[in-house]
């Protein structure tokens, strides 16, 4: 198929960006969206132009590196799918596709479609861990049984890939879904309970410092999350946070 692309080009963080139009032809149904972008880039290099910078690595939907706002949606039109797993069969010959970076104050653009998501890392530094040392002197793993239901719920929360689509989808650019996923994973496991309250407080306050917006329960994050992280986690985080605030008084 032949497509018209409107791609956000921005030379650097301090430059003004703009949408630039490109045509690509002979795009196969079986290509992934990023392979379509590769095709565009080969074409640009051929013409002596700079290829479009975009983030990606695993191309298997697991590393969380790929981003892209495609026709107004983070990771494009397919539900539960990262951009690297989005396939061109979801588009039609002759379509015009708008490709922009994730937009949020806390995710500044670095170049073209690449944004800086290191705010997520800093939130994790604030408490996204269990304080156990790595000496290897831990007790036997089966000495701490975990009910299967809890283990499964913790696992579901732990599948967040840190892509930031939830932030990009939210009209307030809130990072609640992301943060609540980590808080929930640990709050659900016996190992993480001891510091659950402190963790919630520290991570939430770092989240605020990073300039993410507030949650107004619109649910756009859940709808756009490629890993199906549920809003239930936000409720759990609020409970943890609340009990932490009460406890600390």
């Amino acid at each position: 198929m032949d497509l018209t692309l409107k791609v956000w080009r921005q030379a650097g963080a301090n430059d003004k960006g703009a949408l630039v139009e490109y045509k690509v032809t002979e795009i196969s149904d079986h290509m992934s969206f990023l392979e379509m972008m590769d095709t565009l880039n080969e074409q640009l290099i051929e013409q002596g132009e700079e290829p479009v910078a975009f983030d990606h690595d695993c191309r298997e939907g697991i590393c969380g590196m790929c981003s892209l706002h495609i026709n107004g949606e983070p990771h494009g039109p397919d539900a539960g799918t990262t951009t690297c797993q989005l396939h061109m069969r979801k588009f039609k010959d002759g379509d015009t596709i708008y490709i922009e970076p994730f937009r949020a104050r806390a995710f500044p653009v670095i170049k073209d479609l690449v944004v800086d998501r290191s705010a997520f890392d800093r939130i994790q530094h604030a408490g996204g861990y269990i304080s156990v040392n790595t000496s290897g002197n831990t007790q036997d793993a089966n000495a701490i049984p975990v009910p299967k239901v809890d283990a499964d719920k913790a696992f579901d929360a732990a599948t967040c890939i840190g892509c930031g689509a939830c932030v990009a989808a939210c009209k307030n650019a809130s990072a609640m879904l992301f943060v609540s996923a980590k808080i929930s994973q640990f709050a659900l496991l016996p190992q993480g309970k001891v510091e659950a309250a402190e963790r919630a407080q520290n991570m939430v306050s770092q989240m605020d410092k990073e300039g993410f917006g507030n949650c107004t329960n619109t649910g756009a994050c859940e709808a756009e999350c490629p890993k199906g992280i549920s809003l239930e986690n936000i409720a759990r985080m609020n409970r943890e946070y609340l009990s932490a605030s009460l406890g600390s008084e």
Partner: protein, 666 residues
Amino acid sequence: MKFDAKTPEGPIASKWTSYKDHINLVNPANKRLIDVIVVGTGLAGGSASATLAELGYNVKAFCYQDSPRRAHSIAAQGGINAAKNYQGDGDSTYRLFYDTVKGGDYRSREANVYRLAEVSANIIDQCVAQGVPFARDYGGLLDNRSFGGVLVSRTFYAKGQTGQQLLLGAYSAMNRQIARGKIAMYNRHEMLDLVVVDGKARGIIARNLVTGEIERHSAHAVVIASGGYGNVYFLSTNAMGSNVTAAWKIHKKGAYFANPCFTQIHPTCIPRSGEYQSKLTLMSESLRNDGRIWVPKNMEDVHAIREGRKKPTDLSEEERDYYLERRYPAFGNLVPRDVASRAAKERCDAGYGVNKTGEAVYLDFKSAIERYGKEQARIHNIENPSHEKIVALGEEVVRAKYGNLFQMYEKIVDEDPYKTPMMIYPATHYTMGGIWVDYDLMTTIPGCYAIGEANFSDHGANRLGASALMQGLADGYFVLPYTIGNYLADDIRTGRISTDLPEFEEAEKQVREKLEFFVNNTGSHSVDHYHKQLGKVMWDKVGMSRNEKGLQEAIDEIKAIREDFWKNVKVPGNMSEMNPELEKAMRVADFLELGELFARDALHRNESCGGHFREEYQTEDGEALRDDKNFAYVAAWEYQGEPSKAVLHKEQLEFKDIELKTRSYK
């Protein structure tokens, strides 16, 4: 140069303990005076960074992604082995040791493998303590499954996302140390050279991939944890950025490169669909626990399927050739990866491939779905269930076990694997070769260590499933933190190492010149153009099976591609900004050198073993023919200005605790 594996004396079961009892320790107050650089934050580098920081060293960690959490380890699906014997099926340290040595076709160092098996159980304890949500059974205890090539259930897993969960565990341990200021994390930084001062590794040259700035970083030791080089094939299951640069750069500075030709081809990948393809996707081999592999028995059916006149589901049991069950009755669909891969290729080469390119076989879940469905019906007391009911119940079980893999398949291929068999074909997956290290995990450059997939150790000629994650974490959490102390004990009075030394200046100059060359070259082809050419030569002539003629041709062809690359490559943009094309150019330049050494290594090894299959050396029924008399050694190559001039050193392998036997899975 000294070339000594430094294997401790004594009985195998007590080597590691007595080693630990006798090494030098660094006083905690002195650890604060010592800096360690870790290149790579996958399972190996992440776990090492966290632990070294925990011990008190100042760690500087580097990765090319925007966050350590995105390292390629995140993509591992199937699971991690550990000799816990929770299932009571007879597992033990010795048995894991034995399986690994045998699975590696007797081309690994016994002492290292034993140590790996010994610490394996501890890895699980460590990860569980960190909150890694492994699969559990209804009693709340950890669940296990079995993997190709072994007869016990020793694989721990977290659905099909084990690598992700383990990496997030290591990442969280890193975060704790970053918060305490013990790890300085350099994201979006690429190491482009090693700095050696007075014969010791003392730092690196790195490029900040956001600003393009070239930086000097010094340390008392440098740890390379940069992963494998499977992307030398262009198409592989590795992440797009996975590369050999860090390993190759230290090779050029004196680290021997061992067994480059030992590469694992994984049997269960999604077949390629066209020229535009950028990478291949793996389907976890845990699927082979329940899936049965087959191709049609009759050529007419093959044609009918390829032309769309028949569907695989139209073929009866009798019309299918379950070739693994036929050839290897003892292990059936669970034979090791090299055996399964070659058997698939053999069937496809004979014309029985089931897709348009003729490069695909079926992986079928129909019998598993029915088997599980019947079991569920019995458990839930459903009398006389209809076939539909059985299938629905069975699909639920399969969904719980492999749901995300099935979903991934459906997204890529646009077919529902619950209803129709998956198509699979082998692809390059893991590299057993890598930087040669001794028992301490130190390379032939003093103070430079290599861990995880970047080193050559522990898997021999073939890696069994679920053992790479185990090795990465064993190295990082439990082995390196001890062995590095033994070396660093001598460095407590060295003080800070200046980055103004002439060695730093010179290394930076070299890096700068290379970068300048690329952005100023007026060529006509993209970097990918060359990478694809290299990949094609590698796959066709240095791939799943090799012969002398093909390898000789490959060596010449790779050289020619390399020459053309340096003349005609085109890299737009400049070097003082984010420039992904420039990053790729630097990496492909190194692949173009490694590829040649890889082919040379395959050419000199006149035997077949594990993942290395030389067509001249096979038994009458097409199985690999090993030559223990002449090749029971590690091939360690020393760089001498060019890959073609590399000098071969041999580390003779001794098998004292396991008898060398022909590997048979019949």
